[in-house]
C-alpha cells in the first residue's frame, strides 16, 4: 500500500499545480482591478494593491461598461426567448412526428456550425439594406443563427428521452395535441429547457465578432466595450479588468447552475454526460 500512497500524493500535487496555473490569471485580473495606475505600470509588478476600493469598478462602468452590460442583457434575453420558444416547438415536432426525416434535423444542426465570419458578411449587407445596422433586432436575429439550431437539438434530445405514453394518456383523456404538448411534455422537460436557455444566454453574452460588426455607436455590447477600451490610446487596465469581472460573474454563476448539463450542451448533445 505504501507505494500507492506515494502515487496518490503525486497525483494530488499534479492536480493542484495545474489548478493553480488555471486560476492564476483570474487572480491576477482581480488584483489588477484594484490597482491604481502607478501600481500596474511598474516593474517589478505590484502584487497586492494598496487599497481594495471599488473606484475602478465605478469608473469602468461609467466608461461604457454599464451601457454595455445593459445592451448585452437586452440582446441576450430576447434572443434566448426566441430560441427557446421556437426551438422547443420545432424540437417537439422533430422528436414526436419526425417531420422532414433525419436529414432535415441534421440540416438544422449544420447551420450552427457555419463559420461566423462567413455568415456575418452577407448579413451585414442585408441589414445595411434594411437600415438595421446598429440596432438590437439585428443582433437578436443574428444570434438565433446559432441559438435556434442549438435549442432545437438540445430540446429534441430532452423530448426523445421522455416516454411517449404520458402524452398518449393525455390524448386519450381528451387533451388535444397542443394540450398534451403544453400541459404534459413541456413541464416534464422544464429542467432541460432552463439549461438550454442558460446556454443560449451565455453564448450571446460572450459573443464578440457579430457584435463588433453589427453594432456601432448606439448598440455596444459589453464585449465590444471591453475590446474598445483596450484599443484606446491610454490603456486603463484597472477599469478594463473591473468591467471584465463584472461581465463574467453572471456567466460563472450560470455555469455552476448548469454543471449537470454542461457536457451535453458543449457537445451539442453528441455526448450525453
Amino acid at each position: 500500500m505504501r507505494q500507492r500512497d506515494g502515487v496518490t500524493v503525486m497525483i494530488f500535487v499534479g492536480v493542484f499545480v495545474l489548478l493553480a496555473i488555471a486560476l492564476a490569471p483570474f487572480v491576477w485580473n482581480v488584483l489588477t482591478s484594484f490597482k491604481d495606475k502607478g501600481e500596474y505600470f511598474t516593474y517589478p509588478p505590484v502584487f497586492i494593491p494598496s487599497s481594495f476600493d471599488l473606484e475602478h469598478y465605478i469608473q469602468g462602468l461609467r466608461l461604457g461598461g454599464a451601457k454595455g452590460i445593459k445592451d448585452s442583457f437586452i440582446i441576450a434575453s430576447f434572443t434566448t426567448l426566441l430560441a427557446i420558444v421556437f426551438g422547443s416547438l420545432a424540437a417537439y415536432s422533430l422528436s414526436r412526428f419526425r417531420i422532414g426525416g433525419e436529414n432535415f434535423a441534421f440540416w438544422i444542426l449544420s447551420v450552427r456550425m457555419m463559420p461566423p465570419i462567413a455568415s456575418v458578411l452577407p448579413l451585414f449587407l442585408f441589414f445595411r439594406f434594411l437600415r438595421w445596422l446598429d440596432t438590437y433586432q439585428a443582433l437578436i436575429l443574428t444570434y438565433s443563427l446559432v441559438n435556434l439550431p442549438f435549442a432545437v437539438w438540445m430540446m429534441k434530445g430532452f423530448f426523445d428521452e421522455l416516454p411517449v405514453e404520458l402524452e398518449e394518456a393525455a390524448l386519450i383523456d381528451g387533451c388535444g395535441r397542443l394540450g398534451a404538448f403544453l400541459r404534459v411534455a413541456l413541464p416534464l422537460v422544464a429542467p432541460g429547457l432552463v439549461a438550454t436557455a442558460l446556454f443560449c444566454f451565455m453564448f450571446s453574452w460572450n459573443e464578440f465578432l457579430f457584435a463588433l460588426i453589427l453594432g456601432r455607436s448606439r448598440v455596444i455590447p459589453v464585449t465590444v466595450n471591453i475590446a474598445g477600451l483596450i484599443g484606446g490610446h491610454e490603456i486603463l487596465w484597472a477599469e478594463i479588468s473591473a468591467v471584465s469581472i463584472v461581465a463574467s460573474v453572471p456567466i460563472i454563476v450560470m455555469a455552476i447552475i448548469l454543471q449537470r448539463y454542461l457536457v451535453r450542451g458543449l457537445t451539442l448533445g453528441a455526448v450525453k454526460g
Binding site: I11, L18, L19, A22, P25, N29, F41, Y43, P45, F86, G87, L89, S93, R96, F97, I99, F106, S110, V111, M113, M114, P115, I117, A118, S119, L121, P122, L125, T142, P149, V152, R177, W205, N206, E207, F208, L209, L212, I213, T223, I226, A227, I230, I240, S241, S244, A247, I251, I252, M254, A255, Q259, L262, V263, L266, T267, L268, A270, V271, K272
Partner: protein, 293 residues
C-alpha cells in the same frame, strides 16, 4: 407513434415553420447572395461598381501570400493548440476520474477559463503578456531568463495566441473526456485487472477503445472552433506585429470590414465554409453511425 394523422401533420408542420423561416431568411438566402458576390469584384469603400469576374477571387486566394500566412497560423492553432489541449485534457481527465472529497468543486474551478467570454480571456492575457510590466516576464526574470516579447515579436506572437487558447479550451477536453470515462462501467476495469493487465494495458486495451467515440466528437468540435479563431487574435495582437499572427477569420474580417473588398472577402469566407462543411460531415457521420455514449 405510427403514421401521422392529418390533423397531427398540420401541428407538426406549424411547429417547425418558424425555425425554418428564420433560418432560411438569415442563413440560406444571404449565403446564396454572398456566393454571387464571391464571383464579383466589389470594393464598396471606394464606391466601386460591382463587376462579375467569375472565379478570379478564388484564384487570387492562393497567390495571396498574406492569405497563405493566415492559413499557416490557423493550421498552427489546430496542430499545436488543439493537440496540446487533447493531451493535457486527457491526462487531467484520467487524474480526475476517481472519487475524492471536493472533486466536483475542483472540476468546476478547472472549467472557469472556458465559461467566460474569449474577450475577457484576451484581456487577461494581454496584461499577463505585457513586455515591461507583465507578471509572466517578471517570473521569467526571477528564474534568470530574459524577457520575451510575447506579443511584439512576429515569430513568437502566433504561439502566444495558441498558449492563451490552450488555457481557455483545455477545460473543454477535460470535462468531455471525463464524462466519457465515467460512462465506462467499473467492472470492465476490474475484469481487466483480474486478467493480469497492468495500468498501461488497461488504458490502451480497455479504456481508450471505449473512449474513442467521445474523443472523436471532442476533437472535431474543437477543430471546428479553432478553425474559426478570431477573438483572441483581435484582442491580443490585432494580427500583428505586421501581419505575423493573422488567422484566416481575422484576415477575412479585415478584408471585408476594413478594406471593404466584399467580393474577395466573400470568396475567402466560402473557402472556410467548404472546410467546415468537410469537417462537419465527418463529425455528423461519426455521430449518426452510433449514438455516442
Amino acid at each position: 407513434m405510427g403514421g401521422l394523422r392529418r390533423r397531427d401533420w398540420w401541428i407538426a408542420f406549424f411547429f417547425v415553420l418558424p425555425v425554418v423561416v428564420i433560418l432560411l431568411s438569415i442563413s440560406i438566402f444571404p449565403m446564396i447572395y454572398s456566393f454571387y458576390l464571391s464571383l464579383c469584384k466589389w470594393d464598396i469603400g471606394m464606391g466601386g461598381q460591382r463587376v462579375f469576374i467569375g472565379v478570379g477571387n478564388y484564384l487570387r486566394l492562393f497567390s495571396d501570400a498574406r492569405f497563405v500566412n493566415s492559413l499557416k497560423n490557423t493550421g498552427r492553432v489546430l496542430l499545436f493548440g488543439v493537440g496540446t489541449q487533447f493531451l493535457l485534457g486527457l491526462s487531467l481527465a484520467l487524474l480526475l476520474n476517481r472519487s475524492f472529497r471536493g472533486r466536483s468543486l475542483i472540476v468546476t474551478l478547472f472549467l472557469l477559463p472556458m465559461m467566460i467570454s474569449p474577450v475577457v480571456v484576451g484581456c487577461i492575457w494581454r496584461i499577463i503578456y505585457h513586455y515591461q510590466y507583465g507578471p509572466l516576464n517578471y517570473l521569467l526574470n526571477r528564474f534568470g531568463f530574459r524577457s520575451v516579447n510575447w506579443l511584439g515579436n512576429g515569430s513568437v506572437s502566433p504561439y502566444s495566441i495558441i498558449l492563451a487558447d490552450i488555457w481557455e479550451w483545455t477545460p473543454f477536453m477535460v470535462i468531455t473526456l471525463l464524462a466519457g470515462l465515467q460512462a465506462i462501467p467499473d467492472d470492465l476495469y476490474e475484469a481487466a485487472r483480474v486478467d493480469g493487465a497492468n495500468r498501461w494495458q488497461v488504458f490502451s486495451g480497455v479504456v481508450f477503445p471505449l473512449l474513442r467515440p467521445v474523443v472523436i466528437v471532442a476533437v472535431l468540435i474543437r477543430v471546428m472552433d479553432a478553425f474559426k479563431i478570431f477573438d483572441l487574435v483581435a484582442l491580443l495582437t490585432m494580427g500583428g506585429p505586421g501581419q505575423a499572427s493573422e488567422s484566416i477569420a481575422f484576415y477575412n474580417y479585415l478584408t471585408g470590414f476594413k478594406y471593404f473588398s466584399m467580393g474577395y472577402a466573400s470568396a475567402m469566407s466560402y473557402f472556410q465554409l467548404a472546410v467546415i462543411v468537410a469537417i462537419a460531415n465527418v463529425f455528423l457521420r461519426s455521430w449518426r453511425r452510433r449514438e455516442v455514449v
